[in-house]
């Protein structure tokens, strides 16, 4: 156990140190992910012109929460993994007595930690400029919300992991991720809260993994999910869990087959 904790501490601290080397880039990446604030501006304008089912304050809370969820669930695994395969760097990692996956996970967590100050700075600026968006979440929302965010991180990581494993067969598996970004953008709740979507679309969306990557954790952070009652929250966590388990199993199977197919390209 002590050895495991030591392993985790080293992986996280080295990867955090590495990400701090890219602090200027990190700041630009955080700036580049202000889409929720752009959507906030657009939807607030729409809300002032007529009833859309949400007030300007509710929209403000929602999109700030979306921004926070997005910052804590940025996944770039597929691009890095693809680079490792094509450049032959995966070979070296495969010869270590640890699945390369864990180093990638540590790199993502290290990056989250490194981008935290920039995220806090940007949220502060937005909250100062947009008083309507300010709210104080209940402790329960924060605790369950953080759990939901890291659950969504795992789910999104698992989905991208499955796509990335196809890199053993196609050199540019990231093209699949780029294609999957469209339904992600539309169904995850980045463009608009799903409760503003037509009922039929929302019902279908709720059976896909996408709403659980942004919309549901954001709903928990703002406290709206908890107002629907524990059954609503439990049901969504269950669907999220099913998707995560299914994708993890698929990913593990693809990894196993992919390794058999691996030709040590570029190594």
């Amino acid at each position: 156990m002590r050895l495991l904790l030591y392993k985790i501490r080293v992986l996280l601290s080295v990867n955090y140190g590495l990400m701090l080397e890219y602090r200027a880039e990190l700041f630009l990446w955080v700036l580049a992910s202000v889409m929720p604030f752009i959507m906030l501006g657009a939807w607030t304008k729409a809300a002032t012109r007529g009833a859309i089912g949400m007030t300007a304050a509710e929209l403000g809370h929602y999109f700030v929460a979306v921004f926070l969820v997005r910052q804590l669930s940025v996944i770039w695994f597929i691009y890095e993994f693809e680079f490792h395969i094509v450049e032959g760097r995966l070979a070296g990692q495969l010869l270590r007595p640890m699945n390369p996956l864990w180093n990638f996970v540590a790199a993502h967590l290290g990056e989250q930690l490194a981008r935290l100050p920039f995220t806090a700075l940007l949220v502060t600026v937005v909250l100062l400029a947009w008083p309507d968006a300010r709210w104080v979440p209940r402790p329960a929302s924060v605790i369950v919300g953080l759990f939901a965010i890291y659950f969504s991180f795992t789910l999104r990581f698992a989905l991208q992991y499955c796509f990335a494993m196809l890199g053993f067969w196609f050199e540019r598996a990231s093209a699949i991720e780029q294609l999957a970004f469209l339904p992600y953008l539309y169904l995850s709740g980045i463009l608009a809260p799903l409760n503003l979507y037509p009922d039929a679309v929302r019902r279908v969306a709720e059976w896909t993994p996408f709403p659980y990557m942004v919309y549901f954790p954001a709903q928990i952070l703002t406290g709206t999910a908890l107002t629907h009652g524990p059954a609503y929250v439990a049901e969504r966590f269950a669907i999220m869990g099913l998707w995560t388990v299914a994708l993890c199993l698929l990913g593990a199977a693809l990894w196993k087959r992919g390794l058999h197919h691996f030709s040590g390209m570029g190594a």
Partner: protein, 327 residues
């Protein structure tokens, strides 16, 4: 008991074949065709613990593919192999802790951080306790002549320093089997010598087994008593470095200094003329007729000096590969 045992080990790759030009591109897009390439043809060999074996062959001969099969990176198409009692492609942790693969053209260190951070990662991954890790880093850094370089970002190191750091990182877990693929590639002469000396030292100290590929014959002659020659995927020789001479070069070089310039016609009767510059001559003579030929030379020509040497091993191996001599 052998630490490496390969039996009928072979690897065939399926490679897409595409003709040049627009027509070839369109055909390739709609009707992709593949051909099978036998990268390694069935080969068998064993290596004993503590041996340093050179693995020689021209580019594309199958050296790296063989190393990848031995290290467990790729599955063999046919045949079997065991390394330190394990089947490599199953890659159990106990096996991975026993081996290392170092490729001169690939780096595993984290580019933007000091090498020490990569060592910390390796220490954690290989379950080396922090105090023991520090001891091993100090020991290996001493052997490699590394000091301040360990705290500089890897990207700021020279190629030679980087290679030494790569070696250090790859040997922190004290592997018993080292697969080295061109470890001195691109290094200057001093750095090459330092790496060779370190490998010798490591082999002696830890009794490690080394399988080494290199295009620099100096690496092979300095480190290896035994070599495997692979050509077009086929293992064509397995034996001592000296044995290559007997097998592929059944001739000797006879250098002569004469007191007058001889005619080419006269010299041709003694052997193949390799060089003639004035009164200096170099002849190639088959070793079966060496003694009578030397007797005749001394008797029939005005010889001032005569030297008999083996042709350089690089030249012999080069001839084997370029002429495709497979016996």
């Amino acid at each position: 008991m052998s630490i490496i045992a390969a039996q009928g080990l072979a690897k065939t790759f399926k490679v897409a074949a595409k003709e040049a030009g627009l027509r070839g591109t369109l055909r390739h897009f709609f009707q992709r065709q593949y051909r099978s390439v036998a990268a390694v043809k069935p080969c068998s060999f064993t290596i004993e613990p503590g041996e340093i074996v050179g693995f020689l062959g021209p580019n594309g001969a199958g050296k790296t593919t063989t190393l990848k099969m031995l290290s467990g990176l790729i599955h063999p198409t046919t045949g079997s192999v065991t390394v330190a009692g394990h089947t490599p492609f199953r890659r159990p942790k106990a096996f991975l802790k026993t081996i290392t693969l170092i490729m001169g053209n690939k780096q595993q260190l984290i580019w933007d951080l000091p090498a020490l951070d990569s060592f910390r990662i390796n220490g954690a991954v290989y379950d080396i306790a922090p105090a023991e890790l520090a001891r091993r880093v100090t020991e290996l850094a001493g052997m490699l002549g590394l000091d301040k370089q360990l705290t500089q970002p890897v990207r700021k190191l020279s190629l030679g320093e980087r290679m030494k750091c790569e070696l250090l990182a790859a040997l922190l877990h004290h592997p018993q089997v080292l697969f080295l693929d061109e470890p001195t590639l691109g290094l200057d002469i001093n750095a090459q010598a330092a790496v060779r000396q370190f490998l010798q030292h490591y082999n002696r100290r830890y009794g490690a087994t080394v399988l080494l590929t290199s295009h620099y014959m100096a690496d092979i002659t300095a480190l290896c008593k035994r070599v495997l020659l692979i050509h077009q995927g086929q293992l064509i020789y397995d034996g001592s470095l000296d044995g290559i001479l007997a097998r592929f070069a059944p001739y000797r070089e006879v250098k002569l200094e004469l007191n007058q310039e001889p005619s080419a016609e006269l010299l041709a009767g003694f052997g193949q003329i390799e060089m003639q510059e004035g009164r200096s001559v170099r002849l190639i003579v088959h070793r079966d007729v060496l003694t009578p030929t030397v007797e005749r030379l001394l008797k029939e020509l005005p010889v001032l000096d005569l030297t008999i040497t083996d042709p350089p091993v690089e030249q012999i191996i080069g001839n084997v590969f370029t002429q495709g001599v497979v016996q």
